[in-house]
Amino acid sequence: MKKTSNVPELQEICRTVRRHIVTMITEAKSGHPGGSLSAVEILTTLFFDVLRHDPANPTWPERDRFILSKGHAAPVLYSVMAECGYTPIETLNTLRTIGSIYQGHPDRRYIPALEASTGSLGVGLSLGLGMAEAARLDKSPTRVFVVLGDGEIQEGQIWESAMYGAFHKLDNIVAILDYNRIQLDGWVKDIMELEPLADKWRAFGWHVIEVDGHDVAKLQGAFADAASTKGKPTILMAHTIKGKGVSFMENNPKFHGMAPTKEELAMALKEIG
């Protein structure tokens, strides 16, 4: 794969990834477009610029680890991994069908290059901490990146892991919160408000970076800031828009877990360009 730090090139990859997402979910007739589209810049910046990984050698022991803890956003992960060369692009549209490697939620049994099988919310940060501990013990340069959903962090296990990461001074792990402010039943503030959220993570001992989660250059800067932060873990609070890139999906709770129609797909593809 060709990695790049060039912002326009990364933005072009983001457009391709968005096209994959809306197309594959339309074909599957089910899936989660909103939270996939909100994480496109985060995952694209990670996989094409930040992460030390090699699709030709997925078991390289010193690779960085990536965990999509909000596993329902599988389409964005599948699209990015396919564009990297881990899996075939031409079968992305088999998403959620019997026998497909593109299972409803990420499944290591079908894609061994995945670091974790996710889908049940709240477990990914703990898994990442275990990988970060193992890397530190092995004196490995491995760093661990975990993408969390905002609704997801209502789970108690997240705060158990938040305590652990700071207490054990794990500075080789970065959590990225896809803070799109919508969960299945509606707006996060109406279901179980998280604010004041940056204060909570700081109180738990984490280095907090607030960033526009759709600004590739700012994300690059935030990941560099995380890498230079020693003695504590970092969380990027990435402010995002659910359904980003498709006007009728943006900030629309309906598209948390509903597939577009064929007509909506045509409109979406036209907007993405």
């Binding site: 996710t118 889908g119 477990v123 898994l127 901490l129 275990g130 501990e133 108690g156 296990q157």
Partner: protein, 322 residues
């Protein structure tokens, strides 16, 4: 002395202590072994490992869910990771994490539940694990082990460490009778026949194996020759030994310090039903929660003793002769 003088049944160490000793030996022989604990290390005996290998011992605080998934992450990165707590806590509070972060991706994690059964005594039902075998057996791909004494625990913990796949090991708080001599060999999935006999088979694990051996002498005095099998591995279960027992003795009594509806008995019964149906009787913790008391008092009151094993075996023999 029990079982015709063959077994001395002298009081040995608790199986949790044997677990702690095995961890230390594993730590010495393999730098890849790591251990996580949730603020019970002095009770689970993982603190011995922690003292020897502080850089490979991870205190997770009172947060079992997080501990299970951290262990899973370490295992996914190539470590031989053990997570330990009271069986009641690691299995119940960690069950979701065991399902989605260990069993489903088939991560090579070793889970140890101590203070199992009702023999924990004074602490009472909130700490008494009578569901752990059932829960562990419902995790696809898990191997489930319940050793009966110090020697078998030490050997099976070590075997589990080098076994490729997730394992649950159930150990207890109280000192238990020694059954095996040092140097005895144990194989995961292979039960051990401790006495010969063709009138009835008593199948058990954990601290009830010693009670079964004591029961053999009482039954012998009544002219009943009982075969005792230590079924230390509940999953995968030793089908051959069960089928042979059903054919040879025609009656099987299963006794266990566990909720009787979801433990060893139902798993033995499935094999019997599938291979060679015969008379079966079951004894375990009934559909209830026990209470505080000394371990001896609680075991006595809830019939976890040789007398209950004798009665269970007698019932089976009586039904057979009808």
């Amino acid at each position: 002395m029990a079982a015709n003088g063959k077994y001395e049944l002298k009081l040995g160490a608790a199986t949790r202590e044997a677990f702690g000793k095995a961890l230390v030996e594993l730590g010495k022989e393999n730098p890849n072994v790591v251990v996580c604990d949730a603020d019970l290390s002095k009770s689970t005996y993982t603190h011995w490992f922690g003292q020897e290998f502080p850089d490979r011992f991870f205190s997770c605080g009172i947060a079992e869910s997080n501990m299970v998934s951290i262990g899973a992450g370490m295992s996914a990165s190539g470590k031989i990771a053990f997570v330990a707590s009271f069986a009641a806590f690691v299995m119940n509070k960690g069950f979701e994490q065991l399902r989605v972060t260990v069993a489903y991706p088939r991560v090579n994690l070793k889970v140890v539940g101590t203070h199992s059964g009702i023999s924990i005594g004074e602490d009472g039902p909130s700490q008494m694990s009578v569901e752990d075998i059932g829960l562990a057996c419902s995790l696809a791909g898990f191997t489930v082990i319940c050793p009966s004494d110090e020697v078998s625990t030490f050997a099976l913990v070590k075997a589990a460490a080098y076994f490729d796949g997730p394992v649950f090991i159930r150990v207890g708080r109280v000192k238990v009778a020694s059954i095996y001599q040092p140097g005895h060999t144990f194989e995961i999935g292979k039960s051990i026949q401790l006495t010969d006999g063709n009138d009835v088979t008593i199948i058990s694990h954990g601290l009830m194996v010693a009670e079964a051996l004591k029961a053999v002498d009482v039954l012998a005095a009544e002219g009943i020759a009982a075969r005792v099998i230590d079924m230390h591995t509940v999953k995968p279960i030793d089908r051959d030994a069960i089928t042979k027992a059903a054919k040879d003795t025609g009656a099987i009594a299963v006794v266990e310090e566990h909720f009787v509806e979801t433990g060893l008995g139902v798993r033995v019964a499935q094999v019997v039903a599938e291979t060679h149906p015969c008379i079966m009787e079951f004894h375990g913790v009934g559909d209830c929660y026990a209470e505080s008391g000394t371990p001896e008092q609680v075991l006595e009151k809830y019939h976890m003793n040789a007398a209950a094993v004798v009665e269970t075996a007698r019932r089976a023999v009586r039904r057979k002769s009808k």
